[in-house]
Assembly symmetry: C2
Homo-oligomer: 249 residues x 2
């Protein structure tokens, strides 16, 4: 009996215990295939603020985000900066089939990554059409999101942008919700993974404008700011009205 148990345990790969096993691109793989991927994978914990990839440098790794938030940034020569994307748990990091990274990737919070060597992963990807199809679908969703965000940057005003941002974060951070009092169980509440400056870099605004808009929303009772990073959304309907046609939280 004991022998059997031990055998079963040894048969469990690390991936079976992985939190994102069924939501990351890995869900395209069966037990045998995932063993191969597992062999080339490495877990790494990255402290908040550390640079993971640099724009223009040769790509050497790809990764799944297991926990935490990664920000992807682009910069102009004179230092103007923009956050072109945020990666949450189960998102894929890295631009496949290209020599160099098209953006910087930095840990916005402490981040846990499941890392793959670039060349080896790309070869595996080409040999597994199911996996490549999964990554293709993921890329298409990224493109959808990017195109939606362009509309925000091109046409929404500061207030609408901030409201849209909060809804986006609330939608993608179901894990980090705080335990509110029972009465408020229905209202989303979470820790912002970004500073005011980073939010500004997401929205194409300045720190001051973001701060002012948050204060305004707070004074109207549409959001709650327990501390700088701790936010609650007691009036989602109103927030959605302000954001204009944003998808459900």
């Amino acid at each position: 009996v004991l022998e059997k148990t031990v055998h079963q345990i040894s048969n469990i790969s690390r991936c079976d215990l992985c939190a994102i096993r069924h939501s990351a691109i890995c869900n395209a793989l069966d037990r045998e295939e995932i063993k191969t991927l597992n062999k080339m994978a490495m877990r790494r914990t990255i402290p908040s603020g550390k640079m993971i990839l640099r724009e223009g440098e040769a790509r050497t790794v790809f990764a799944n985000v297991v926990s935490g938030v990664v920000k992807l940034t682009k910069t102009l020569d004179d230092g103007r900066q923009h956050i072109i994307g945020l990666l949450f748990p189960s998102d894929f990091l890295g631009r496949t089939f290209r020599e160099d990274n098209p953006y910087f990737a930095e840990a916005a919070t402490e981040v846990e990554l499941c890392i793959f060597p670039a060349d080896e992963f790309e070869r595996f990807l080409r040999s597994q059409p199911g996996l490549e199809h999964r990554l293709f679908q993921y890329t298409l969703s990224e493109l959808d999101a990017c195109q939606d965000w362009m509309l925000l940057l091109a046409r929404k005003r500061a207030e609408e942008r901030v409201a849209s941002f909060l809804l986006m974060i609330a939608k993608r951070l179901p894990h980090l919700r705080c335990c509110g009092s029972p009465a408020k169980a229905a209202e989303p509440s979470f820790l912002l993974p970004l500073s005011r400056g980073e939010i500004a870099d997401c929205l194409g605004l300045t720190i001051e404008t973001v701060s002012r808009q948050l204060t305004r929303l707070k004074n109207q009772g549409i959001i709650g700011l327990q501390s700088n990073r701790e936010i609650s959304l007691p009036n989602l309907d109103r927030l959605r009205e302000i954001a204009h046609q944003d998808s459900r939280v």
Copy 2:
């Protein structure tokens, strides 16, 4: 001898004569495979201004752009609009693996399309990993371009946006160049595929701002405006300086 010639001619598929045969996603296919694709394909000429796809509607077709320019737009409820992308000859139109169109597609000029029925094309795509890989690569480039454009919308000023726009068009319109005088052979010159209003919708500006910036560039001798649509770029270096770190024309 005549018989042989006839046989050779009958062996030539429509695709062999297609202008974009080797630049569109079709270049992933060999002679046999392209025959299959050819069977499901239909050529269509669409007049300028006609809507091709509507946001939210079920997708029924995909297409290659053979000639002309297609604009992809998103709108807010109150009518604010943004052009999230332009398609030039050899670009692929349509969002695969999704029930509904995520944007409007409209002919910006007269457009020639090579159309595929959606379901049939998707099935073919899944059966041809090489073709799907090619479309995946195309989608990745689209994403790169979209992320670059986000930086423009978020952080560039009106003058920089207009300069970047002109460089982008010049880069993607090598076909539509006018024949200038011999002395000016080196300077790009072309017909704008978009109106001032459409340019504004690309750049997140108003018509008036675009007009003012174009006039400024003209007065500085950096661009030439032969007519509303006819543009020349006699000082590319200066234009690039203004646009800030944009890729070569």
